[in-house]
């Protein structure tokens, strides 16, 4: 189809009317250009939002106890209750499909006063008692040392892991924090690690960067709460339904704590999966919308190409008739018209694609591609797959645009051109 002779033939007809060819091509150029820009922007927002939840297990559920709302087994309604470590063991043992469970003991910051000190330097940070599983749900980057481990829990060691900001504020980045002693709410702890959150938007009870992480058992002893804690999180194992698991977990807890089987008010359950799924749908929706708008714009370009080529064909009646008289078969005429439309569209499409990608690369350079706290727009570029898809769409539109003109062209008989008026 595209040997040198054909290209020559096609190029002659395209180049013969440069202005019109340019105008024709502009529609397709614009369609692809808009599509690329829209897709890239969509990706920018997608990346931006994703960076905000990076590291957080999206299949997790958060559960906190609240006073009961129904009287049951001789207990009044409005009774306070707490989950404890044996509940966690029971959940892990009895409910299949629960992957990781992470109990959390949270100590909020005291009304703005400094409560954590290294030497004389202090800061105001919240404390959080966790087990190693915590790092499976709210994943963090370990900057120094390590996270809380199993031995810390078993031996209730007086160790801590500092959030990045806590480390910077009270110790300072010029010092290796490992092995240093800090004082938190009056008790001394050995620093065994420093961590940083992957994101700063999704977190459990305050940013991890501004938190002192302690072994759960250590904190339970320090605050004399036995084996109780404030709330827990669990993740769903692959292949299990989060909603079903939530029901099972609630039922188990009701049974263990003499709560009415119909009491829904005794828990606050937050389903991260549901929220993230909603976001996924939102993005899918945006993406579909972008493709519809983009392809719509492109289609109007295609209609433009088709239309102008129809006019061109009409003007070329005599020329095409002469070609037919000289022995051009219908297939050759079809091929030529299609190739013309294809070449025009592909050239315009490539220019649109390249320009779109180039512009978004520049924009991306300004916006940057590293997550930061308040940027919701990140690395707005289209992927390789989308670029390929766009190219294929361009080719298909080229063929599509050529169909009507080609049909019109083969309807021209040699006799129509030869007739002397």
């Amino acid at each position: 189809m595209f040997d040198i002779d054909n290209i020559n033939e096609i190029w002659q007809t395209i180049a013969r009317n440069k202005t019109r060819s340019l105008l024709t091509a502009f529609g397709v150029f614009w369609g692809i250009f808009i599509l690329v820009i829209l897709l890239a922007c969509g990706n920018g927002f997608d990346n931006g939002l994703r960076s905000q939840i990076e590291g957080f297990a999206t299949n997790s559920t958060f559960l906190i106890t609240t006073p009961t709302t129904e009287a049951y087994k001789g207990y009044q309604k409005g009774r306070n209750w707490d989950v404890n470590m044996s509940d966690i063991e029971a959940i892990e043992k009895k409910i299949k499909g629960v992957d990781k469970v992470s109990p959390i003991f949270s100590q909020w910051t005291y009304n703005g006063e400094n409560n954590v000190f290294y030497g004389t330097k202090g800061g105001n940070f919240s404390l959080k008692g966790v087990i190693p599983n915590y790092n499976e749900i709210d994943r963090c980057k370990v900057l120094y040392g390590r996270f809380i481990n199993e031995t810390d829990i078993v031996e209730a060691r007086k160790v801590c892991v500092l959030g990045k900001k806590a480390y910077e504020d009270i110790i300072g980045t010029d010092k290796n924090p490992l092995g240093l002693m800090i004082k938190a709410n009056g008790i001394y702890y050995h620093v065994v690690g420093v961590i940083e959150a992957y994101n700063n938007k999704v977190s459990i009870s305050g940013s991890i960067n501004e938190t002192i992480i302690l072994p759960l058992t250590t904190m339970q002893i320090a605050y004399n709460t036995g084996d109780k804690f404030d709330f827990f999180m669990f993740t769903t194992a692959r292949g299990y339904n989060t909603k079903d698991l939530q029901t099972e977990v609630k039922n188990l807890l009701r049974e263990r704590h003499d709560i009415s089987p119909t009491d829904e008010g005794a828990f606050v359950c937050f389903d991260f999966e549901e929220m993230f799924t909603m976001f996924e749908y939102l993005f899918l929706g945006i993406k579909i919308l972008i493709w519809i708008v983009g392809i719509g714009t492109l289609l109007s370009g295609v209609v433009g190409v088709s239309n102008i080529m129809l006019v061109t064909i009409k003007e070329r009646t005599r020329e095409i008739g002469v070609r037919r008289a000289l022995g051009a078969k219908p297939s050759i005429i079809i091929r030529q018209v299609m190739a013309e439309s294809l070449l025009l569209t592909i050239l315009a499409g490539i220019v649109g694609l390249v320009l779109g990608v180039a512009i978004m690369a520049v924009v991306s350079g300004f916006v940057g591609n590293t997550p930061s706290d308040d940027v919701m727009f990140l690395d707005p570029q289209i992927g390789f797959g989308a670029a390929i898809a766009a190219s294929i769409i361009v080719m298909l539109s080229g063929l599509l645009a050529g169909v009507l003109p080609a049909i019109r062209a083969i309807q021209i008989k040699a006799i129509d051109a030869i007739r002397e008026e």
Binding site: I4, D5, E9, Q12, T13, R16, R318, E319, V322, R323, R324, A325, L326, G327, A328, K329, P330, S331, I332, I410, K413, A414, I415, A417, I418, R419, E420
Partner: protein, 235 residues
């Protein structure tokens, strides 16, 4: 070479027009025939049928021994491309192609490669004294030059037969004489030639003059063009 038996053709326009009413004609190989008649007598219609550019309603048309009837578009294209060369009154050169490209075009449709095409086209242009005009576009050529280009184009595929519809209709008398001289020389190489004209002077330069009137052949006149004096005006 050409055999027409009872050819009938009606144009179905606003009202049907029976243009050819039973044409019987034989043209043997190497003949130089002219078709004469008043304007509207059906000369072009007949020639278009001969050139397989148009179809007929009744009768049989044999070209080089083959019945030309109900051909597919592809077959018709192939016949035209291989057997027939066309020369038109208004030349029908493609305006955005050079003389060379115009002459080479029929070879393109035969699938001849570019180099060979151009060499052959150049040979024919040279033969008609147009070597220096090969790279010129039709609008840079005079009427006589244009017609010589189109003769070259008609001949480049070595057709069996040349069909010319008023080939001198757009030319002045001196140029007409030159063009007719060329056509006679081409005929002399053995190529059958049918020329449509309404000018007696042109018809006089052919060996056989077919007089067409009201859709039938009125008479066929034998003629000896060598008795004619070419230096004289032919119009």
């Amino acid at each position: 070479m050409i055999k027409l038996e009872n050819i009938n053709k009606t144009y179905f326009g606003a009202q049907p027009l029976h243009v050819l009413k039973g044409i019987n004609l034989d043209v043997t190989e190497g003949e130089l025939v002219s078709i004469m008649g008043a304007s509207g007598s059906g000369k072009s219609t007949l020639l278009n049928i001969l050139g397989i550019l148009d179809n007929y309603d009744e009768g049989d048309y044999y070209l080089a021994g083959k019945l030309v009837k109900n051909l597919s578009e592809n077959q018709a294209a192939e016949f035209r491309n291989k057997l027939i060369g066309f020369i038109f009154q208004s030349f029908n050169l493609i305006p955005f192609k050079t003389a060379l490209e115009n002459v080479a075009l029929p070879l393109f449709y035969q699938g001849v490669n570019r180099k060979k095409r151009n060499t052959m086209a150049m040979e024919y242009l040279e033969r008609f004294g147009l070597k220096d005009w090969a790279e010129h576009y039709p609008n840079e050529l005079s009427g006589g030059q244009k017609q010589r280009v189109s003769i070259a184009r008609a001949l480049v595929t070595s057709p069996k037969i040349i069909l010319a519809d008023e080939p001198t209709g757009a030319l002045d008398s001196k140029t007409s004489a030159e063009v007719m001289q060329i056509l006679r020389e081409v005929n002399a190489t053995g190529i059958t030639m049918v020329i449509v004209t309404h000018e007696r002077g042109i018809a006089n330069l052919t060996r056989k003059i077919v007089h067409l009137k009201d859709g039938i052949i009125e008479s066929i006149e034998e003629n000896d063009p060598d008795k004619m004096d070419f230096t004289k005006e032919i119009k």
